[in-house]
Structures are given as C-alpha cells and as structure tokens.
Symmetry: C2
Subunit: 210 residues, 2 copies
DNA sequence: CATCTTATACTCGGCTCCGAATATTTGACT
DNA sequence: AGTCAAATATTCGGAGCCGAGTATAAGATG
C-alpha cells in the first residue's frame, strides 16, 4: 500500500492551519471557517477529533501545551512537526499535479439513465439545469461578497474552480437534452426498453479477442 | 433525517441489475462489468455484500432462490421487490434532477494552494495538464473501442460526461497558470508569505454587520 | 436578575465501507 | 495427466467516519 497514513483532506487542512499557528482542535475548525474553507473541505466535528488523533499517531502533529480555563475542559494545543511539514508539502504536490479518478454522483446516475423513460429523463434534466443555475448564482454572489470585504482572490480561487465545473456541467446537460428529445437514433432502443418491445439490454457479442 | 436507507450508489446499480434479471451477488458484479459500469460506479466486493444485506434489510430486494452447485458455496439469487422498484425510480429522479455539492480533491488542494510557493505551484499545475490530457486520450480511446464493438451511445453517455468535465478542468487550469506566472497583483501577497515578509494570512477585518 | 439563545468545546456509539484473505473450479498449456 | 493461471464466489476484521448528544460559558432580552 502506497497510501497516505491519513487520507481525509480535512487532515491536510488541519496541518495547514497548524503550520500558520499552533491551535487546539476547536480553534482549528474556527480558523478554517474564517478562511472560508467549509465549502471546499468538509468540516465535521466527529471527524476532526478522530483525524487529529491519527495525525498525532502518525507523528505529523504533536501536543505542545495544555491550557485550562476555569471549569471548561482542558484544551490541548497542537503544533506541526517537521515530518508533518514534509507530509503537508508532499501531499499538496501530489494533489495539485496528479488528477485522480473520482466518482461524482451525477456520473453514476447517468450511467443508469436507461432505467428512466427518455421523456421523463429529459424533464428531470431540465430541472437540473435550473438547479445548477441557482447554485452558480449563489456561489458567484458569495464570491463578490468576499471580494467586497477585501479578501484576496488567492484565497477564493477554489470557488472559481467550482463555478467553472458547474458551468461545464450545465452546458453539457444543455446539449444532452436535445439529443434525447430529437435524435431518433439515440433513443430508439431506449424507448423499446420502456414499451416492452425489448426486455434485455442489447449488448454487443463479445468478440473473443484478447 | 430525510436520507435514503441505503446511500451508496453501488446500491442503485445493484437494484438496476436486479430489475433486469434476478441474480446472485457475484453475478451482479459481472453484469455491471459487462455493462462497463466500473468506471462510473466503484464496484468493490467488500462493499457489494454489505450493501446487498442492507438492501435486503430495507426491503428493496429479497432472496428468490438458493442454488447449489457441487462443492461451491450456496448462491442466493436476489430479486427486486415493488418497494425496491419504487426506490430505484425515486433515487434516479433525485440524482438526475438535483445537483448536490461534492468535494473533489483538487478543490481542496486549490483552497490551500497558498501553502506552496507560486512558482512551484505553476510547475505542478503544468504537470497536471499533461496528466489530464493522458486521461482524456485514454478515455476517448475506450469510448471509440466501445463504439466499434457496437455498444450503443446510450450506454456510454456517462463517459462523455467524464470527458467534458476533464476538458473543463484542463482549460480552467490552463488559464490559472498564466495568472500565477504573470499577474503581479495575484501573487504579491502569496510571494510575501513565502519570503517571510508576512507570517500570517491577511484576512479582511470582520465588519461587524449581520 | 432570571431566562433564553448562541458560542465554545468535545465525546461516543455505531454504521459504512473495504482490503486482503480464502477456497474451489475451470481452462490452457505442456 | 499435471501444473499454473484465471475466474468464481464469499467472508471478516477493523479502519474511518459522522450525527447527535452533552455540558459549560457568555451574551442578549424582557
């Protein structure tokens, strides 16, 4: 296994925060929020504490101090170790330079689109377009809010990426709809599957080549 | 909780297979492979059996028969129930019509790109472009293979979507690189963070509005 | 000053998921 | 006929993850 010891991206974010400032767990989460990272990295308290424990076990972070404040629970202040610093850089390098396969939900749904009759599918996709538009508008608004508040573009670049992907999906779906509604060739088998003229998915004969 | 009882997309795929033909677990996996769905849905034996159990517990599928073949283990043949049929359709409708937030790894990395010096980041992104190009070429090749074998476009449409997203990412990154290399404004703070002129992320004063 | 809400701070039980191991059968090649 | 690789078919232990709960402190409200 050539796998990272801690693989959840929240672990990366934790190390990034600790590189800038030693903090206790809850403070790490708050910092990530002031950096507006909740939108690109899932911050979940349940996970946070688990991940901090495993980062410590892996030697990437260590307890630097323990504060106490009245009756509140103790707060352990963590800091990045040298090995953690190295892991942070290596991991970032890998994530930036290597594009690895992921499995977006819409892709899974598309792969089984034949389960839904073509006319209904087209209708559902039209709803999706609307939905995507709303998400784009909302995201662009956030972006201009951040800019107005003086947050540098460097710190919101991931949101621009998100918008770019949403727009790409939108225009792809916008091309798919007319294909479903107008191309006889594309939907002929599909329709037959739903009228009962066909009861099996027509697959090509496996030519026994290898 | 307004959540699906079984939330792994492999569960959706299992129900889709069973709608077409009652099968035992291993056969479900093979069918998905002949449908070329490994690329859009992660098929993992470890998960498969867990998911089949929970689909059964949820009442979406049920054991129809038990085969035995010599010394081989018994094979339980599952089929879709009415409730499962309904779940399959509803789930598909939701996935097709609602675009929901996901957290792609590259987005997470981008959100922390300031951790890497700008020149190095640009270099890493150039590697990524190459990487994406390879993935596109490979995917397009698969696609034309499928076509040559006579597989209808309907059954490979998710792959076209994948390519569209890859191309969108590529052209977005292609625009980001010159921004990093040529825009003084974009990289000024970024450089300072790495020369030590700045040791904290410059955030806007929170104007106490609400 | 009593109460209600919000922010701070963390814990825990349990479910989901999966890699790796296991074991048998079939097919291919010598 | 013997051996090796590939396909068939499933199990299981444990890592990872997270929702919901807990508890205190601080600030707001009437």
């Amino acid at each position: 296994m050539n796998q990272r010891k801690v693989s959840n991206p929240l672990g990366l974010a934790v190390m990034a925060v600790l590189q800038v400032e030693e903090s206790h767990p809850y403070q790490i989460a708050s910092t990530l929020r002031t950096w507006h990272k909740e939108n690109s990295i899932k911050i979940n308290y349940g996970s946070l504490y688990t991940i901090i424990t495993s980062l410590e076990k892996a030697g990437f972070i260590e307890a630097k101090d323990v504060e106490r404040d009245g009756a509140r629970p103790e707060r352990t202040i963590y800091g990045l170790t040298d090995s953690g610093q190295q892991e942070l850089v290596e991991w970032m390098q890998e994530l930036l330079s290597v594009s690895n396969k992921e499995y977006p939900l819409f892709g899974s749904a598309l792969s089984l689109i034949a389960m839904i009759p073509p006319d209904e599918a087209a209708e559902l996709l039209r709803k999706r377009i609307e939905n995507i538009e709303n998400r784009i508008n909302h995201t662009v608004l956030c972006l201009s809010d951040c800019e107005k508040q003086g947050l540098e573009r460097l710190f919101t670049i991931e949101t621009e990426y998100e918008v770019a992907l949403l727009e790409a999906e939108k225009s792809w779906v916008e091309k798919l709809i007319p294909l479903i509604e107008e191309s006889e060739e594309f939907t002929s088998t599909w329709r037959k599957l739903h009228t009962g003229e066909l009861d099996r998915v027509p697959l090509p004969d496996e030519q026994g080549e290898h």
